[in-house]
Assembly symmetry: C2
Homo-oligomer: 481 residues x 2
């Protein structure tokens, strides 16, 4: 932004266009309820509106920003709409957006401590704060044997945990000689698909995952886990990794960590706890029971980019013993050698993750924690859980709908009393209205609707309107049959 | 940003604070030369300045922004300073920063086409544009058998390529049954450390990497590659992956793709081409010779977040046959099933990468291409190469310094005539001045200084001043000895 001419955006223009984008975003949030939540475009429609060739000459920024409204917005599914109840949320907030902006402006690449000490130290600091805020096990703190790091997603966190577990179980031989098909991995049949994906990536092989059965709350059976581990040992397998879930994707089920943890401890198997969605709830003391038994965990993750008003990507990943993780993932080529690294006095987060480079992601998390304070975060978590519980109550009281699973936190699994077909039709028709967006899962082999209350700006009025629309649409569908 | 109270940032405040952050960034760039390029803080110094406990109550945004200047900035190594000549750059620009801001504001999570069609389609569109802009092989286009996807980094791109290669070589058996220690991987002894890291992560084992020797330009020897592949086949190994580099990290060496490519084709081995840094140069026709032979590649990546004014993270990864990549990485749990996916008419980028979730990263890339135009991008690439060549000429003309490698693009490897010790001292003293930042490597077992001209705002005056300071500092050091 020095010496203009030469195609760069001048400081003057950056100020002007920066304001335009900030205002654009503020306008967007003020009008967000006017857009259909689920984009209604057909495959290929957005591309068709774009010029086939890239421009030879630069274009004015105004023209680009205009295209966002005219060409891009119709193809956006509005994750930040208060009527977004699909999947799990990826919520955000003003302070988070501005933290991301500042991170982009500073343009720091924090692969090494020396590459920007503040990028590493703020991250360690905020990760330690969260241990206190959520009363996580003390071993997760950087002042203890463990520590925390920001990953892009729970998928990547689980993969890092799996690699560390694989190496611990084989005395670091897999890193050296490769996997040999004997390692086994355990998770419930309700666990997130990223565990299976990680097992494939890590060269362990899908045949070596054991999908452990669940009880009638969709929580992992410790007895079945124990039996499977013993059986595998008897056939020469090497059990290395158990992934337990606190808040499964399908139904928010909470695996029994104390029992699973004791089994892992006795068997010497790495316990990873995936609380991607649920973890944030433990900002409130009354929800901390879901983490009971977490002291057995070798690793743990939760996603502020789901439910903590911090925009994607921001997964917080903790280990109880950082030495194992670092040994499993470290590399040190000559061109990255530096005095700070060799002193051993600093953290180089490149050895805590899959990629080498990294953004200054702790800024947005720090902004959110400071702007809301613990009090503000607790307020909103409680509000979301209450919204979900109210919705669940209405479902229970209705004779046309039924709950399909318990509602420990902010996800309601429910269905219209009727078969899968009418539930599928109901969901499709609701989503086509553009007035709300919800998605489905399968529980006990039955089509199940999921209603997750976790979007930043969802208020009681949105949930009431959604429930009314769901009831009316079901009634109309029934009348058609 | 609706219904204020309740801890959220109001639209009014978002506009106000958004402007403040935009102005902060503009001020930062206007004053960036006044900061020491390499942060001068000691380990732990930044953390010490931060409060030990997180705040119970929220804080005003002004207070947070004030801390950026007071507490964070001293710990920042200024990657965006025009005097940053270290590592490879991670350059950025006004349009890129505003693209990232807009992406954060929209808060879209694009794991599936349906989760925001525009997020997927704009990405495919811009990736296709770049095939045209750089004259990449036509197979990389989405209208052909292949396609492109944005990854966070070249490390992740290489890992995805490696997984696909592993599966192609074993008939997808590694995914099912795990690796078995027979697969082998080839790259030059100058290749980026991420290849070794990927091999460890993928369960192939470090013993199974062959670091192929190089010629006197530090480019891979095709003869040595051919011999090693044959030797491995004879001992029952399964050669599965060759990673060639266009612009190595140490010295910007360009591996001979035509010869390597022919060997890979004959041997049925996957060829990945890592052009993380160098690739961007091919926006200019006169540098396209570095991609000669790229038609043999099964996969390819380059990083707009290094040299194309697009802030980290943005790696462009292409495959010639998308079916193999997708089959190697795909997962489809019930809760992600949807009509668009099942129609087969859309791309779901979750199956092209390690994590599940993804940001709307194509926005910033689209902004950069449109704002600069092909012409503007070419102008700056040429300017950077010229800056590096001028610097190289000064080194050559000096009797105190020597070039340590050819200068094909924008990296100059050089050393003071004297041993490793004085070069180490020279680098340390230069970086301590805060007036510039450069890093080192090892070439032919000798300490080598690296000077990379690729920061967005580096002008001829910065390079002149740097060269003057390097000469004066060396002279002073010599006088002390």
């Amino acid at each position: 932004m020095t010496e203009s001419k030469s195609y760069h955006m001048s400081p003057y223009e950056f100020r002007k266009q920066g304001r335009a984008v900030v205002d654009w975003i503020a306008d967007y949030y003020e009008n967000i309820e006017s857009y259909p939540v689920l984009s209604q475009v057909q495959p290929g429609e957005i591309r068709k509106s774009l010029p086939e060739s890239p421009p030879e000459q630069g274009e004015p920024f105004d023209a680009i920003l205009k295209d966002i409204r005219d060409k891009i917005l119709p193809g956006v599914t509005h994750w930040q709409s208060p009527n977004f109840f699909a999947f799990f949320p990826a919520n955000t907030s003003g302070p988070s957006i501005l933290g991301e902006l500042l991170s982009a402006g500073l343009g720091v690449q924090g692969m090494l401590w020396a590459a920007s000490p503040a990028c590493t130290e703020l991250e360690t600091h905020v990760m330690d704060w969260l241990v206190d805020m959520m009363e996580l096990p003390g071993t997760f703190k950087s002042s203890n044997t463990g520590g925390g790091v920001i990953q892009d997603s729970a998928s990547s966190a689980s993969l890092c945990a799996l690699i560390a577990a694989r190496e611990r179980a084989t005395g670091y031989a897999s890193n050296e000689r490769g996997c040999d098909g004997r390692l086994t991995v355990y998770t419930s049949n309700q666990a997130h698909s990223s565990i299976e994906k990680g097992v494939k990536i890590a060269g362990i092989g899908r045949e070596n995952i054991r999908l452990i059965g669940v009880d009638d709350t969709f929580a992992m059976s410790p007895e079945a886990l124990q039996a499977k581990i013993r059986e595998d040992r008897q056939t020469g397998k090497i059990p290395c990794f158990v992934s337990a879930t606190v808040g499964t994707t399908s139904s928010n089920a909470v695996d029994p960590l104390p029992d699973i943890g004791r089994i892992c401890r006795e068997e010497g198997v790495w316990l990873h706890v995936d609380a991607a969605m649920g973890g944030t709830a433990t900002l409130c003391p009354e929800f901390r029971y879901i983490h009971e038994g977490l002291e057995y965990a070798d690793s743990y993750c939760f996603n502020p980019h789901k439910w903590m008003f911090t925009n994607f990507d921001c997964d917080c990943f903790y280990v109880a013993d950082r030495a194992t993780l670092i040994r499993a993932l470290s590399i040190l080529p000559e061109y990255l050698r530096n005095k700070a690294t060799e002193s051993g006095a600093v953290i180089d987060y490149r050895d805590w993750q899959i990629p080498l480079g990294r953004r200054f992601r702790s800024l947005k998390l720090w902004f959110v924690i400071r702007y809301y304070g613990i009090e503000g975060l607790q307020y909103h978590i409680r509000r979301h859980v209450e919204l979900a519980r109210n919705f669940a109550k209405w479902v229970e009281e209705s004779d046309q709908f039924e709950l399909a699973a318990p509602v420990p936190l902010n996800l309601v699994c429910f269905r219209y009393v009727g078969g899968d077909e009418i539930n599928q039709k109901l969901m499709d028709r609701l989503n086509q209205t553009g007035k709300l967006y919800l998605t489905h899962t399968s529980l006990n082999d039955r089509m199940t609707l999921r209603f997750c209350a976790g979007q930043t700006y969802t208020e009681v009025r949105h949930v009431k309107t959604a429930w009314k629309l769901i009831q009316e649409t079901a009634k109309a569908l029934k009348a058609e049959c």
